[in-house]
Symmetry: C2
Amino acid sequence: MTSLRDSSAPSRLSVCHNSKSSNECEHCQARSLSVCAALEPEDLSRLDQLARKICFSPRQTMFEQDEPSDSVYNITGGSVRLYKLLPDGRRQVVGFALCGDFLGLSMGERNVFSADALNEVNVCQFPRQVFSDFVDAHPRLLRRLHEFASHELSIAQEQLVILGRRSAEEKVAAFLVALRDRQSRINGSVHNVPLPMTRQDIGDFLGLTVETVSRMFTRLAKQKLIVVTPDGARLLDSPKLEAMAAA
Amino acid sequence: MTSLRDSSAPSRLSVCHNSKSSNECEHCQARSLSVCAALEPEDLSRLDQLARKICFSPRQTMFEQDEPSDSVYNITGGSVRLYKLLPDGRRQVVGFALCGDFLGLSMGERNVFSADALNEVNVCQFPRQVFSDFVDAHPRLLRRLHEFASHELSIAQEQLVILGRRSAEEKVAAFLVALRDRQSRINGSVHNVPLPMTRQDIGDFLGLTVETVSRMFTRLAKQKLIVVTPDGARLLDSPKLEAMAAA
DNA sequence: CGTTGGGTTGATCGACCTCAATAAAAGTGG
DNA sequence: CCACTTTTATTGAGGTCGATCAACCCAACG
């Protein structure tokens, strides 16, 4: 089991290029995808003033399980792994957050999982209480958050099916297809799926070991269903992969 | 794989004892546990007028996956299994709904899973659109629904850990402990955990076969951690079981 | 260079599945 | 009430998929 705790990075926040504090939401590629889409321009501008645009570097921890959750985050770029650690060191990755995703849906007192940046991650950070008050004043935003939570719940239940009832090969196929679908919501249709996470991360997400994940990648490659690239995978035969993943 | 589709029961709804249409919410044992708790007496009374109090008999299907979701439900008594079917007949139980639970959190167009009554189940049924309109007029109820959805999401993520990272024995121990905790929220502290679902249901929930579930029950019994009763299990050594289940 | 972290591949092992038999329980009709 | 079927639960024997253990490769980096 890898340690995952980065011994460096005592300072959690590092501003990358926080050029102007003015409303950049207009140019934000995450806007239409994220919770912000529920807001009219004037409210969006108000929300924008509450946001700290910050940036996490690769392998940096955004927050940790069981810590008080002082902030919520709207991801405007990059990928994040979300995971739970067990007392014995076992780890379960509960999901990967991409551009447009919102962290802090539950708005509970404490984080129920930890989050690490996988690559350079840009976020709008909001103090939890400030955001909560803003939500109370904007029922449409609350509705949108509820839709997001419901959607997350569906995703999690799909993942239950994958973890509970599928073979290693099917798990990996389902993982690739699902990630491609999420990517295509952001970038438009893609065949080349970037995989910013390690095999270990994928294994901890799918309930498999690194070795098995690696074997399944090569097995899918031998069947000409994918090509493994240094930073991801190209899906050659989506129909067959989807059939494997079929829910 | 059992068929699960009950050939009988073409009529979905059977009223059990719909005595008075007046507000019985005051005596409802689910009230403080369920979404209703968000409402003031006058609003509660309004909501009550929108409810159809109906009853499902054991093994009756409440609704099916992919069907248009015309209704949402507040469970006031009994237990329900929620599950997804795969094309090849495999089944994943995504959860069990108990007294106080709400079905229809996502309020999407179609059901994302099927639901069967395990025993006699009492519900308040609401037309989806009517309920949705009521929610729009009562942000506090929306907030409560969001809390429920967030809680469900946490439960699902805990289940991901159980499915992904735990042995058969740990899975069954975790299942029993979790069910006891949920029961005790309803009834107060209990050691005798009723199990209205079959071993098959438990297996389909935990990603195990019936045989393995059965073996784990007898193994836990041999370790004097539980006693298997005809309609459930008595937890003899909660601390040890909780240690097994420890997240 | 040596070191370190991530990835792949092979050999072996074991937890859980599969298949099969039996038992117990619950419904069904006479 | 008793035969009869059907469903559910338990137990055993054997097989398999994925875990474990181990070696090796490769790229990044000091």
